[in-house]
């Protein structure tokens, strides 16, 4: 089934639950205390909280928050078309809200309310799922998190990558050399 149609179907049912049951109070519940990036262009606070929790697991043991993974993905997504933005926001809703978790996963706990080990199990189950949608959802989150993390020059020394070499441009200017620590 088409990923977008599938999501729309799932969300239609979940939204129905949201307005008809007290479980609505649990929607978008996220762990309090972890500071969220400010001035995001695309993500709401609940979406950013879910993405931050996903990023923590994806790039662990690196620190996703120090690497500003959520802010960088938000920046990338701000220049994506509306449909691409909607896809990722829906995915985070399914993963991060109590409704999405109940409707889609059959559990009452949202991703952000779980501990690290449980989060890793959920991500692994999405990665290995028989459902195309879950696997593609996992891949989209994995690729975004890892791409922006490992494109961060401050990370280079830790993986033994010296960074771009020193070169002299045709106009005599220089480029490359060791990146700032």
């Amino acid at each position: 089934m088409d990923r977008r149609k599938f999501l729309r179907g799932v969300l239609g049912g979940a939204l129905f639950l949201a307005v008809t049951t007290p479980l609505g109070l649990w929607a978008f519940k996220h762990r309090r205390g972890a500071p969220l990036p400010r001035d995001l262009k695309v993500f709401s606070d609940p979406e950013a909280a879910t993405l931050a929790a996903v990023a923590d697991r994806m790039v662990a043991p690196l620190n996703a928050r120090e690497l500003q993974v959520v802010t960088k993905i938000d920046s990338l997504l701000a220049a994506a078309d509306d449909l691409t933005q909607q896809d990722l926001k829906r995915l985070l809703w399914v993963l991060g809200s109590a409704f999405g978790s109940l409707f889609f996963e059959g559990r009452l706990t949202s991703f952000t309310a779980m501990g690290p080990e449980e989060q890793e199990k959920v991500l692994t189950s999405w990665r290995d799922s028989r459902l195309d949608f879950r696997r593609s959802g996992f891949q989209s989150l994995q690729r975004l998190c890892l791409a922006v993390a490992y494109a961060t020059p401050s990370l280079y020394p830790a993986i033994g990558y010296p960074g771009p070499p020193f070169l002299v441009r045709p106009d005599g200017a220089t480029v490359g050399g060791l990146p700032p620590l």
Binding site: R3, D81, P153, I159, A173
Partner: protein, 529 residues
Amino acid sequence: MSELASIDGSTLTADVQRDCDVAVIGSGAGGAMVARGLALAGAKVVLLEEGGHQSSRDFDMLEGHAYPLLYQEQGNRATTDLAITVLQGRTVGGGTTVNWTTSFRTPARTLDHWRKTYGLDEPSEVTLTPHWEAAERYLGIQPALPGDVNANNRKLWDGLGALGWQRDLVRRNTRGCANSGYCGLGCPIDAKQSMLVTAIPDALAHGAELYSHVRAWTVEAQGTDERIASVRGQALDSKTWRPTGRDVTIHPKVCVLAGGAINSPALLLRSRLGNQSDQVGKRTFLHPVVAMIAEHDEPIEGYYGAPQTVASHQFIDRGDRMGYFFETAPMQPMLAALAMNSFGARHRAAMLNLRHASVVIGLCADGFDPGEPCGTVSLKSNGLPRLDYPFSDRFIEAARQAQVDAARILLASGAKLVRSLHSQPVELRSEADLPRLEGAPVEANRLPVFTAHQMGGCAMGSDSTRSVVRSDLRHHQISNLFVVDGSVFPTSLGVNPQLSIYGLAGYAVPHILKALGGEARAPARGEGS
């Protein structure tokens, strides 16, 4: 002159209307070479490019800058199901600004297949050879020297040699290359002879106008004529890539579509023009890539050195089965992080070994079975292109075997461990472990697949019910529309496509001039290249 003729559409404060001889949509291998050939012949050319007009001063070899700046969808283009990552340029110079310089002529076996299967007596090897030769001279295409081979490519070379398999040093379009290894992020020293530093400035110096940050949205016919009357482009904001509200409208005598195998079909579909055959966007080929990564005792540093200097076509002809060929890929951290398909601690461990990693990629030559399910380009509800590519049985078999053979190459090169890219990687330490790969899934989003070569979707052919353009690259029904990019290939090529497209561009120029009515000077043979 060239700076005056290059207009950044993102800065336009009013709509633009232009009359010209030829509107060229897209500034990559096809569009830039055609624009140059036509401008040299005296035609008034206006070139539209969705991406920005960068220079080497903008290229700093940092992946976090380069992919958003230079690639379609900021490096995030993919098939609808996200199973195949699509690396495709979006910048002046198109894919040539970000490719890895590998230059092959169209193989004789591919041209022979087109002749037998699609009635394409032309373009033939004889016809294309002068255009290839002209492009090779113009772009400094020369075989890599042994000293250009980095350790990553050397592992491929050694593994192939140990197995007794065909191997070659590839030819590259460079002059004064420092072998830094960052071709994919834009050449910082103008050594790569991309369109950005060759055909584009040449075309501008001969009177062509270039509008960057302008996305050609539709082509429009006037009345009931089967002729393009106008090209309507949207100026784009350079940061958000959204339309600024300014339009660039070109009224050409002839239109050349050269947006590549995804954007060219999408433009025709959006325009609701030229799809009488129902073949626009059908039979899209990707040379889908699978890979194996190896760990070595010694440092490889695959992020440095010319990215591709060695190739093998040992298995390009597998009879009725899909063929494949082998090359390597650069190992800068972000690209490597995406290839090492895991997360958390396991991913981190793999990345910590990056310095000792080498990679072999297997590129599958899709489309040689006329009945093979290939890719399809259609439109999303917002009019932007959508790409679907099912994993056919032929591809699955080829991908599986290509992984096995890539693993054999790496093991023969002395690797201590070879790993597949599966979500749950298959690890091999000797040939005795190879059967493990045979049971591993080749399935969407279980095994990462990449493409850097997009082809097909506006196929050329003699039968107007089965193809979109004629053998002279003119549209079957629209007499002043030519398509000159990888979309016209009726199959994939079995080699990296840039030189094939340069050859086609040179071949197309006299045909386009003829369609212009002989108003401009006819170029000498091969001059268009």
